[in-house]
Symmetry: none
Subunit: 227 residues, 4 copies
DNA sequence: AATGAATGAGACTTCATTCAT
DNA sequence: TATGAATGAAGTCTCATTCAT
């Protein structure tokens, strides 16, 4: 058991080191030597735990994404209404990303463009994560919160696209500002198109007199730019 | 002058070869040797034209994005109305991507995640491309097509995020289907939130009885998935 | 005592495994991992019994050569005449080799060319084995069987050289034929030069009409080749 | 042409370095790094010229043995009589070995025990070298110099075995004495058994009063020992 | 302009050996 | 005694890059 623990510990140390280095210097610039040094063991030992550099890259976010999957249901539990759920989903997702920026960086910047990513467990987990959104949209249509002719797939595309865009920009900009800047507003803007027009909404109204818009942008130019 | 032409020709051959290989095998798996062989010259000679592999990557889409910039104004010329312009922008952009998938793949998959991309000419050109959208949103607000409290930056984020999402998925899925599948519908869905509620719109109505929704998705599973 | 036996048993198992593997795959290609696996213990445990791989190689034939030394006197006991003794020596030696081909292979192919072989106990035992020949030659000179001006050292060189040559070829050829093919004839041929010309010999006569010579060689190409 | 020369030169430098190091420290203890350093180039460059360490080992004596083959006919040209030829062969062979001790060491100590040696060009060349002896023995039988019932194959075995024995011992003893010590005597001793007894020979007579025998051995203990 | 040759660096692999438990 | 874990060293290979010609 001690053995098991120790092995797990070493493995974990390697993952932590690799995560940090990949996130800091990028995948390519990070060497196996760097990682093993950082983890406090020899290169040869590292190869006892991982097949190689790419295996390491592909394995790193495994745990994180699995946790996300598990957490998702838990977090959603007890929330009523599709819009509330959608809102929760966004806030929850960004919070998790803010709390694990290294994992996020690896998933969003290095993993997604890797040719082998799609064969990964991570990939299918990410799909499950996004698939959850479809249920929300379907529910919203049933309950009348969303327009009955809403195409859930396309709504999800908009939602995911926007969310990913926000995250990716944040990562590329060095995570210097809060992911939650303007989040309320952009959420409402996105949602607006999904709402059932038959129902009187106040959604966008809340922001109607939002004289803070400009303030935000004056304080932080980041919000204005896209990659 | 013959020299000059010759040089340009060689340079162009290198770019074409690199483009094809990067797009086919990815940036990392493509070697300088591959590229120079394909271009019909020695590896050393390639270094007369480019600083190195990364320089090549960063330079390749230069021309393409410059062309986009030039073409944009031209294509927009004479189009009346913000929504019409936005629509034109989307259709135009996707068409260009469909016509130059290699360039697109390099920009969307390999370039954007490169640490040095932001120092690139391409980057600033892409920004200009996206900045154009702000003008459209501002115009829409002025003319009353869009709600007066619309935050142009956030609208642009949604628009760009969704567009990029569509493109990225298409690239990752091997460009096997048409980029224009469901485009009409997703455009209308996105736009809906931007519209001025005071104005009677017909936008979404067009799709109201769109019983084809399901057909599309049954035929092609691609539309349902996200990366 | 049980412990002692156990230890001896394990040691012996290691030796047997190493012997087989060295002989089969050669010294270099055989790994400590192979040997310990074959012997049914861990690599680390092997180091409790032997200093390392080279020590193993150097130790393996220890027992065998010691046995040879012991057996030699025993086998020679009661044999009369230098030529008879020489003959006995040759037949005895080849029989021992035929019965322990793994040991022989290790001694002849891997050990003799090892830089540290000469510091070995095995080496000094082999010398004693060969030294015995000098006594035979000296005896033959005294008794008049061999020419009085015979240089025992050189006679021994011829004898040992030829014998080793026969053995080495046999080993390299995969031990597919009998070591005793043509042995009679080659022994007589060798001896002929040592004989006292004053004494009427019949040695070579015996083979005079040996019309089987060619038969042997036609049947088995091995005899014809040298390494 | 300059290129060709340069490449040949580099290749040759690698071979020289490897030869020296293998001969000095043995095959196993010599590293690729040692060799490339000695040859004044990088490890990577070495791999441009040779597949690896074993390829190097197997290639090194190629040239030497080819030269031997070529030289053999040349040296034998004009020599009359089988015994004279045999004598020439022995003296010639040992001279060549004395002049190229590094090559000899590699062939005799490292190559012959290598599992892949037999697939080598060197191997077949060595066989040709030894095959030449058969012709000499056959000639001797025809001319009556050798006994008519002499089995050429076995005579060759004795000759080659003895010769190899002399060489191997010399190499293992550090090449400290002359290969030609006692050569005359051992040659005559070996030959004696081959001679046609019908012919009056003087061969062994020459050494009859050779009271120097003991002197040689007293001066140098090496001559007395065998491996 | 072009290139053959070389190179340094790093990935990956294997292995004999050591050591804490 | 025994072993899992680790390691240093070397072999092997690939590649981006440099340089003399």
């Amino acid at each position: 058991m001690a053995n098991r623990n120790q092995k797990e510990d070493t493995r974990s140390r390697i993952i932590q080191s690799a995560k940090r280095l990949f996130a800091e210097q990028g995948y390519q610039k990070t060497t196996i030597s760097d990682i093993s040094k950082q983890a406090g063991l020899s290169e040869a030992a590292l190869y006892e735990y991982f097949q190689g550099k790419e295996d390491l890259l592909l394995t790193i976010p495994q745990l994180w994404v699995s946790e996300l999957i598990e957490d998702l249901e838990d977090q959603m539990f007890g929330i009523d209404g599709a819009i509330n759920k959608l809102r929760k989903y966004l806030w929850w997702n960004l919070r998790r990303i803010e709390k694990a920026p290294l994992d996020a960086k690896i998933v969003y910047l290095f993993l997604k463009t890797n040719a082998n990513f799609m064969k990964t467990q991570v990939y299918s987990n990410v799909r499950r994560l996004y698939a959850y959104l479809l249920e929300i949209f379907d529910e919203g249509k049933r309950t009348g919160e969303f327009r009955e002719d809403l195409n859930s797939y396309l709504a999800r595309d908009i939602f995911v696209g926007t969310m990913d865009h926000i995250v990716t920009r944040w990562l590329l900009k060095g995570m210097k500002y809060s992911l939650f800047d303007n989040l309320e507003e952009i959420f409402n803007l996105m949602i607006e198109g999904f709402r059932n027009p038959a129902v009187l909404t106040q959604g966008i109204k809340e922001n109607k007199n939002n004289i803070n818009n400009q303030k935000f942008y004056k304080e932080d130019g980041n919000g204005k730019t896209v990659i």
